[in-house]
């Protein structure tokens, strides 16, 4: 599969991929907002027909100026690979590209993400393949009342 930076033309494909695959969905303006604000850190995988089969949608959190306790860091809002395109290591490739861009362009000190407590496959990917660690548990983070694990990976 073709793995590359997400372009404006990909936004509809990313939205469709997300809707097909994940329970947390977003309207177009949300996807647009990320692309318009941080155009360098979201990536896609596409098949030979140009269909988006996987993506990572990321943002940068900059702490308020008076808050010295926080650092600039990246956050993965959504990452997904269509079930039929698994076992190609796409999620890992997408994540690594995004992390590299977060660190080199924005000097992000770490990257964070939320994952459903019950999503064992995703947790295994983040922890075992990508080296994330659980930073805390966020109670009832999801709309249906499920807890989220807040995971982190240092980029420095």
């Amino acid at each position: 599969m073709n793995v590359r930076l997400a372009k404006v033309d990909d936004l509809m494909g990313m939205q469709a991929c997300n809707l097909q695959n994940l329970p947390e969905n977003y309207m177009m303006k949300f996807w647009m907002y990320h692309a318009m604000t941080w155009p360098q850190i979201s990536f896609v995988a596409e098949d030979h027909k140009g269909r988006i089969v996987g993506y990572v949608l990321a943002k940068i959190d900059e702490p308020a100026e008076d808050d010295k306790t926080q650092e600039i860091h990246g956050h993965v809002n959504s990452i997904s690979v269509l079930r039929s395109y698994r076992r190609l290591g796409l999620a890992k490739k997408l994540m690594l590209l995004s992390q590299e861009a977060m660190a080199s362009i924005y000097k992000a000190s770490y990257v964070s993400l939320h994952v459903r407590k019950s999503n064992k496959a995703a947790i295994a990917l983040y922890r075992d393949t990508l080296g994330f660690e659980v930073a805390k548990v966020e109670k009832k983070y999801y709309g249906d009342g499920e807890d989220a694990l807040s995971m982190r990976l240092a980029l420095k």
Partner: protein
């Protein structure tokens, strides 16, 4: 009128300060207090135009008082035609209604009476960009820059305006002037970095390649440009345009950075003048080097298959397919299928896979083969035969595979697909459901199952299945999918309703697709200001380009054509509507059930509204569905006008789609627009004079005596 044009009498100081307070209250969105304050002023000065406007503006933010507010704003404007506040408020209200043309007119009026008002100028610029009025946009941005030259974004704003208006040389001048005036750019400033990349893109557009390159190189050395990938890419593109030998090195660096991007390989080979779209041994060799250097990358190995031929292809394809099967890559078939355009490659792949099946079979002697490898081989071959219109072979293989491992959802999905291709939609839906049941947590399987149910015309069942993953507080699963702009669902659902004789619901779905595209178009509005503040210019210019092509998307084209067909059918035979509505006369039991559902739905509505009681919440709750069955829509008195509007953008965005022209003819001829109708048929004839639908229309034209 003449009286109202007379000199405005200023408010006495008490009321004047109340008015100031009113402005602040509105700005901080304290709606109820604002209303009280406005009424205090109006008690003494009921004809005060500016206060009336402000009161109207406040009312437009209150539930069910929008119309009343609008009337007050209009009245206020009439009473004080020379007040910039009145016109500004009028513009704001029109803008909120997405009536951008009229809003811009009001802003222009307001500026006549307050020409240096920064808010007015900025909003006007935003409207002008949205309406693509680039010449006047340049004027507005120029005024803004002259008033506030110290704000960096105002320089960039003018340059962007020039660029959009098609004056790159002016844009360049502005950017150069801007850079000379710059002082104290902080180190590692992403905004400055993006601005420089924008400047370089202007130089490239002007064909000033060496200048562009030297600006790029010096600013990357000084780390003023911080986006390394963008640097590499811009370099590679410029060097290629210059036919410079360094281009190869630049593309190589990009491949090293990401060895899975097809575009990069394409750029690399183009820069070397090596053909990349046809058999080419040189490309095979180069790709081999990249594959060895980047063992984790799959792109070079896969791209080799595009450019290899004959024995070399067989050799490489065998390794590629074997590797995929051993790893159990479910997408392997989808991945190689694009090679099937070449029949010899297709046949070679079939032979390779069949050989491997024998080799991997449990009866064979090879002992180190994982049983799953055999399974994935069967899966691969089943998909292959299904794509080659051999459903029996495909299904037989899948049956063996499913017997071997009944719990792999992919096998059931492949079965569903083979059955669907063979025309057994009910069987396909059943198979997809079996896949879904094997992993109820997986939305992908759920979506597939819902889609297959729709293909089988089982709209109700499909909605139940989709509902397992849609938001529980939505009016219905369909409403949630519509809110989330699922074009896949809307189009599949529409087609299902169309086939099952419910054009009302089909039309409702197609119009929902149209609305999604209207929203996509509208979504850009805020970014006209936002991206300038963020200095993310390059991506913003791409957004504008994308928006201008938006409705060339196949989902829109299909919805527009199908909806217009339904509109045409109803206009030819309005009895369709009455027949459908009387058919939908319900039995008592059904009526009861419907009533219950309605009650539940309105409860959901109430709950949604609850937080809006907060004074600061300005957004009115989403209106409930006034036309749940689409009958009102189907009975539209302006059906043909709606159809014409749907098709309008396609004249320029999809001029090579013959069905677009046929649909345009069907609508135009009924609207008695003879010239348009004949023109559409001429376009169609130019695309394909033998097209059967075209001949039907030519006969139709004659029969209408034209």
């Amino acid at each position: 009128m003449s009286k109202s044009l007379g000199k405005r009498v200023p408010l006495p100081s008490k009321e004047a300060s109340l008015f100031k307070e009113l402005l602040t209250l509105y700005e901080t969105r304290q709606i109820k207090k604002g209303l009280k304050t406005a009424d205090l002023i109006l008690k003494k000065f009921p004809e005060h135009g500016e206060t009336l406007c402000m009161k109207g503006l406040v009312l437009t933010h209150m539930k069910d008082r929008r119309e009343e507010g609008l009337e007050l704003v209009k009245k206020g404007v009439r009473l004080d035609l020379t007040s910039h506040i009145c016109w500004h408020v009028f513009g704001l209200v029109q803008k909120a209604d997405k009536n951008y043309e009229e809003a811009l007119k009001s802003y222009t009026q307001a500026l006549r009476f307050d020409k240096d008002n920064m808010n007015l100028l900025r909003d006007s610029a935003q409207l002008q960009t949205h309406l693509r009025l680039f010449d006047t946009l340049v004027d507005t941005r120029h005024t803004i820059l002259i008033l506030r030259p110290n704000q960096r974004q105002n320089w960039v704003g003018l340059a962007v305006a020039h660029r959009l208006a098609g004056h790159p040389e002016e844009a360049r001048k502005v950017m150069e002037h801007y850079q000379r005036s710059l002082k104290n750019v902080p180190d590692y400033d992403i905004e400055h970095s993006e601005t420089l990349l924008f400047y370089i893109s202007i130089l490239v557009e002007l064909g000033e390649f060496s200048e562009a390159l030297s600006v790029l190189d010096s600013n990357s050395r000084s780390r003023a440009i911080v986006d390394r990938t963008a640097i590499l890419e811009t370099r590679a593109h410029i060097l290629t345009k210059q036919n410079a030998p360094e281009a190869e090195e630049a593309w190589r660096a990009l491949i090293e950075h990401n060895a899975d991007s097809y575009e990069t390989y394409r750029g690399y080979f183009e820069s070397l003048g090596i053909l990349f779209n046809e058999p080419n041994p040189e490309a095979v060799t180069k790709l081999e080097e990249f594959a060895v250097q980047n063992p984790r990358a799959t792109a070079p190995r896969r791209l080799q298959l595009n450019v290899a031929s004959e024995e070399k292809f067989v050799e490489l394809a065998k390794i590629y397919i074997e590797r995929g099967l051993v790893k159990g890559v479910p997408s392997l078939f989808a991945d190689v299928k694009s090679l099937y355009a070449d029949a010899t490659k297709r046949d070679a792949i079939e032979r390779i896979a069949e050989d491997l099946r024998e080799q991997y079979a449990p009866s064979s002697k090879a002992s180190d083969i994982e049983p799953t490898t055999y399974l994935w081989t069967l899966y691969f071959l089943a998909q292959h035969y299904s794509s080659q219109s051999q459903p029996d072979k495909s299904l037989a293989l899948l049956n063996i595979a499913i017997e071997h491992t009944p719990t792999l959802p992919e096998l059931h999905l492949a079965r569903a697909r083979a059955l669907k291709r063979a025309g057994d939609f009910i069987g396909a839906a059943r198979a997809a459901n079996e896949a879904r049941l094997l992993d109820g947590q997986d939305r992908f399987l759920n979506t597939k199952c819902g889609k297959y149910l729709l293909r089988a015309g089982m709209t109700k069942e499909a909605e139940t299945i989709f509902g397992l993953f849609t938001k529980k507080d939505a009016l219905s699963p369909a409403a949630d999918l519509e809110d989330m702009q699922s074009l896949l669902f809307l189009l599949e659902s529409a087609a299902a309703y169309r086939v099952s004789g419910r054009p009302n619901m089909a039309l409702k779905r197609y119009i929902a697709v149209k609305r999604a595209f209207d929203d996509f178009e509208d979504d850009q509005f805020d970014f006209h200001g936002y991206n300038l503040r963020k200095f993310t210019i390059s991506i913003y210019l791409k957004l504008l380009k994308w928006e201008d092509q938006l409705r060339a998307n196949p989902a829109y084209i299909s919805a527009a054509i199908e909806a217009s067909k339904i509109f045409v059918e109803v206009s030819d035979d309005p009895s369709i509507v009455t027949a459908l509505t009387s058919n939908s006369q319900l039995t008592d039991a059904e009526k009861k059930a419907k009533k219950k559902a309605k009650k539940a739905a309105s409860k959901v509505q109430e709950e949604k509204k609850a937080p809006a009681a907060n004074d600061k919440e300005l957004e009115p709750a989403p209106p409930k569905d006034e036309d749940p069955d689409g009958f009102k829509l189907l009975a539209s008195t302006d059906a043909l006008e709606q159809a014409a509007n749907l098709l309008m953008p396609l004249k320029t965005l999809a001029p090579n789609n013959i069905d677009v022209w046929i649909a345009i003819y069907d609508v135009a001829i009924r609207r008695k627009k003879l010239l348009q109708a004949v023109g559409a048929l001429n376009h169609a004839a130019a695309l394909d004079p033998e097209y059967s639908e075209l001949h039907v229309r030519l006969v139709d034209l004659k029969q209408r005596g034209m």
